[in-house]
Symmetry: C3
Amino acid sequence: MNKITKHGITLSVFLLVIFSSGIILSAPLSPQTQTCIACHNASTPGIVEDWLTSRHSKTTPAEALKKPSLEKRISTDSLPKELIEYAVGCYECHSQNTENHKDNFSHFGLRINVVVTPNDCKACHPAEVKQFTGSKKFHAIKNIMENPVYKTLVNTVTGVRTIEKGMMISNKPSESTLHETCLGCHGTKVESKGMKNVTTKSGEITVPDLTNWPNQGVGRENPDGSLGACTACHARHGFSIEVARKPYTCSQCHHEPDVPAWNVYHESKHGDIFFSKYHEWSFDSVPWVVGKDFQAPTCAACHNSLLVSPRGDVVVERTHDFGSRLWVRLFGLIYSHPQPKSGNTTIITNQNNLPLPTTFLGEHASEYLIDKSEQGKRLAVMENLCKSCHSTDWVNGHFSKLENTIRETDEMTLAATKLMLSAWEKEIEDNGNPFDEAIEQMWTRQWLFYSNSIRYASAMTGAPDYTAFKNGWWYFNENLQHMKDFIELKEKKKNSAK
Amino acid sequence: MNKITKHGITLSVFLLVIFSSGIILSAPLSPQTQTCIACHNASTPGIVEDWLTSRHSKTTPAEALKKPSLEKRISTDSLPKELIEYAVGCYECHSQNTENHKDNFSHFGLRINVVVTPNDCKACHPAEVKQFTGSKKFHAIKNIMENPVYKTLVNTVTGVRTIEKGMMISNKPSESTLHETCLGCHGTKVESKGMKNVTTKSGEITVPDLTNWPNQGVGRENPDGSLGACTACHARHGFSIEVARKPYTCSQCHHEPDVPAWNVYHESKHGDIFFSKYHEWSFDSVPWVVGKDFQAPTCAACHNSLLVSPRGDVVVERTHDFGSRLWVRLFGLIYSHPQPKSGNTTIITNQNNLPLPTTFLGEHASEYLIDKSEQGKRLAVMENLCKSCHSTDWVNGHFSKLENTIRETDEMTLAATKLMLSAWEKEIEDNGNPFDEAIEQMWTRQWLFYSNSIRYASAMTGAPDYTAFKNGWWYFNENLQHMKDFIELKEKKKNSAK
Amino acid sequence: MNKITKHGITLSVFLLVIFSSGIILSAPLSPQTQTCIACHNASTPGIVEDWLTSRHSKTTPAEALKKPSLEKRISTDSLPKELIEYAVGCYECHSQNTENHKDNFSHFGLRINVVVTPNDCKACHPAEVKQFTGSKKFHAIKNIMENPVYKTLVNTVTGVRTIEKGMMISNKPSESTLHETCLGCHGTKVESKGMKNVTTKSGEITVPDLTNWPNQGVGRENPDGSLGACTACHARHGFSIEVARKPYTCSQCHHEPDVPAWNVYHESKHGDIFFSKYHEWSFDSVPWVVGKDFQAPTCAACHNSLLVSPRGDVVVERTHDFGSRLWVRLFGLIYSHPQPKSGNTTIITNQNNLPLPTTFLGEHASEYLIDKSEQGKRLAVMENLCKSCHSTDWVNGHFSKLENTIRETDEMTLAATKLMLSAWEKEIEDNGNPFDEAIEQMWTRQWLFYSNSIRYASAMTGAPDYTAFKNGWWYFNENLQHMKDFIELKEKKKNSAK
């Protein structure tokens, strides 16, 4: 019997609402959450209904704690009394750690945080938050915005250019544009600037005045001082493991031309099987059983999920440190290289004193990168995962092909770099900003678009069009040809101008 | 009991066919429709089966009229006797208003129209047709083909170029190519040129000889003099509301690089939730209940559908005037601007006497555009819709970000325009046709491809790759650089040729 | 009752495993297959589970032989005793024709072939293998790698370029890169180089050392001397007809920019209906009933499947010769032309003694191409298929539009060819390799990317964006303009260098 029935009249109204919408709650709601819903059921009903589809609404942490170890969906061992007996409702999440939350405000008699952060989710999911803390994603803002090279790229790409008196002027990007370009994925800095009034359906109310909000970028800086947004992948307010395990979620950011993981997956054999058959699979079971719950991996299967064999042996442990099963870094940097030791990549200094894991000519800043032994361990984890379905020789053949691809794509970047350096030397372009002139842009395409496409397609067993014509080798070689031709045309022009 | 049993022998055969295909009809068919099906069940069985999946085949207008107001799927109050008691079958749709239909012909004893038009659908759906009549889509052919600027763009893009004696010659596009490029979406002019014989499985028959047919472009000119094709979105012969509400329908035309609504949706958070969860949603219920029937909007939810809250309050009324919830126009024109007052945009004249809502430098032809007050009203409708799931502050933050994006993307177009004007001034290119030379083509890309991508991604809460790298800011700035470089190269060439 | 129960202790363990995974087998397994599964259930459980979802695991050839002709899924009339009474398990497929298999090896007491080939599948599916043998896909490696023109294209596109002492050097592509680019789809040459040891979960084992493995390219050269990989479309080990009939399978190779069949389908009306409604369709029934099992075609419906009408009349016979319903060849060659007579296109010699079906100026090598009468027959097959749902006039209108498109796209290629020839004549570029310089690359784009996109969109009734802006006419004309401008810039440079 539903415990909320003892809360009297208000609740009867609430119950009526719930029941009239045809849903029988199987877990009691806290009095505060009932209060939230009593209004929000009218003011933002979509959220409430979405939450009603969630596991959060249908179970209590007390029940979740009783599950056998492999089936557990929460990683804490104990919880405060006020969280344990109720469904995980509005108030349970939006009232954590109020003392840290500069976005906390008094809202119809309750103290509410606008933004729910990893530090709040940690109450039930501490292991996941801890794993996440070690990842590059955790440092996603800093890694792009506090690295002077990347900051220059960001500013060059997203700043408005204007023509004034015939001159092209580059302006700094606005907060707003950063918010929906780079920081849309990496995360914005959400700070409270104080309070403000907003006029709502329920009248004027006073709420925190937040910067760069709304945003669910994975490395978001939160008003409680924490980093990260679980909602980047676990969409509010259903928080469905099914959503996180399907590739659509990853595709929000991992998309061509710079990070074509989604596109490559779509065209791969794994993708073919997923899209053709996934309606027969289970995306909700924990642990996730290879072969029974699914017959081809999604992104999450290889990179994150706890997988077990049909007889219950652990194939790979769950992780929310997204690089922890990776031995090489394939994208986003000029050359491929071993994964960095720390998720915070701003600490890296290469041989040319740039905060990059390789030099422009490809030398590794090895002391900041994992060593061969650690690479081997991680590769072994991934190989073992592949071997759930593929023979050892098959897997070896796959990864040795990838190794060759990494080498060749790096060679193609090196060729582009040499052309760019010659253009700088001949003063055809200026090396002050390596991203703002035509040859430099071609150079950037070489590693940021084309190398990445080819490597992803190689790593993900397929998508021959992404290696060949669609941002692949065709573009690689055509682009080099353009660089060469453009240098010659500009050189000629320069000489004849003398 | 099915009324058609009383029609005797022919019908028994027909019934046998229907029943042998396992479907029990729940609505009586008119004698004429039975005649149609008796043959078409053999000659074009796919259509018949498709129609058998439709609501049209399973209900009568009489029953449809009885539904409570919000659940109604037809908007007429009364219907002629011959339509009311039968399922909506072949004959009911293909025999309307024969006097207007130049494509009417005698077909095995019945007078049949080849093309079913909005004016025919109006018998049951007058409100929808009326709404549609106010839309830009209704005028989709005229808006592109009777606007001299757009006509020039169309001709330049789709005409064959040949090389004759070393000269490049531009030819006018063929009807056939227009039919499958621009007019594939905008609609062709379907006229009857008389009658012709065709050899079919059933022997030689005489049918109307129609121009530019088949076509389901949304603004099609029909042989009854009407405009529009409901089948652009309501695919024949299932006419499924499910199809119209799913984003695949819109993606037929609203696709990158010029109108990347589908692509942006796919990569957005809304899209992520849709693709991951839609198998659990209801796409067939009228009215469509926010949060219960779906937990993330599709195109139709925001732009067209009648939405109600879980307790039955109307969130937004149904509309088939696709711009009626829009306050700004984001795509297809050089600069963003308030929506035009009339769906017929050929009536606009700007300050430079061009039939465009802005000048090449961005000044608005304000008298033809909705004013601030109307803009505010429409924005309020959309905001209210968003607030079904999002807080007021969230929604405000979203739309203020969009406003900034509109401003900046217009600035980027202005920069490109200034470069093009300087190329014209220097006689590097010729301003007779603003679309046919290299710098002009780059200028067109700036607003037709890149601005649109960025604005859509901004408007639709996500898809950071479409703002950043995929036809977004990267291309915006790279393209401006190309314009500048190309002008310099050509200028040099021109000077040294002197 | 399952026969395997009589095999004693090992089998009891095996049965336990099978039953503990909740699946009751309805067909007996051979003793050898039981042995395979006893280990592989632990070593590669994903494969075993995948196979358990297959029809192969659930029926015996004996039962398959009993089906009425149209419902048959195997095309043999008789089978050897050892295959007929057991489910089609590991051993049944991996032990065929061992005498031919250079990849045969002794594996825990059984003689196993690593690679299962069309010649092995032929035991049950001889008609399909025979059809396939006539196709261009069967010769897919030779057609690209033994045609000197295509070999040059392949080498130019996929070879690493390096910069050495300021010079750009083109290198030959590595086996490994060919393997994951062109040959990813066309197929690799899988040969046995001898034996090697690999360390597996079950200890060190000795296995054949295969070149270019793994690969499922459709024309793969197999270690038994046969050609082809059924797994290109029938993904292992589910071998699901559903997968082969869904367009995701074709999208692995038929993908923009060079072969945009998938992309065009996605944006077409057929695709719209498929994606919106396919969850209600049947993809598993044989024969496949037009209108009842599906209401819009997938790739397989038009190109491969046995289709019948709702009353059981054959609409079109099954074929695995993928060109056999095609009268023109739309992609991959410089100009469109009648389909070649032989699937082996290396035998063609055109008027300029090149192994191409047309000359660079578009003359057909007619003696190697099907004639008008054969074209007419094939077109009639396809038209008949369309007429399952569309009227004769509709179908005629469609194909006459396609014909015009073929003519115009060929004209656009001719214009590009003339520009390239003039560049060669003026010695701006060198005609030694027609693919490695900028103007040549633009020429290649014209036919390899843009013509193909427009033709596919025309042929597949839709996707106006692929004819207009997305690799369509916009690019066609812009690209010609670039060719012209680039020739002028280079010419100027060349002249002023004199």
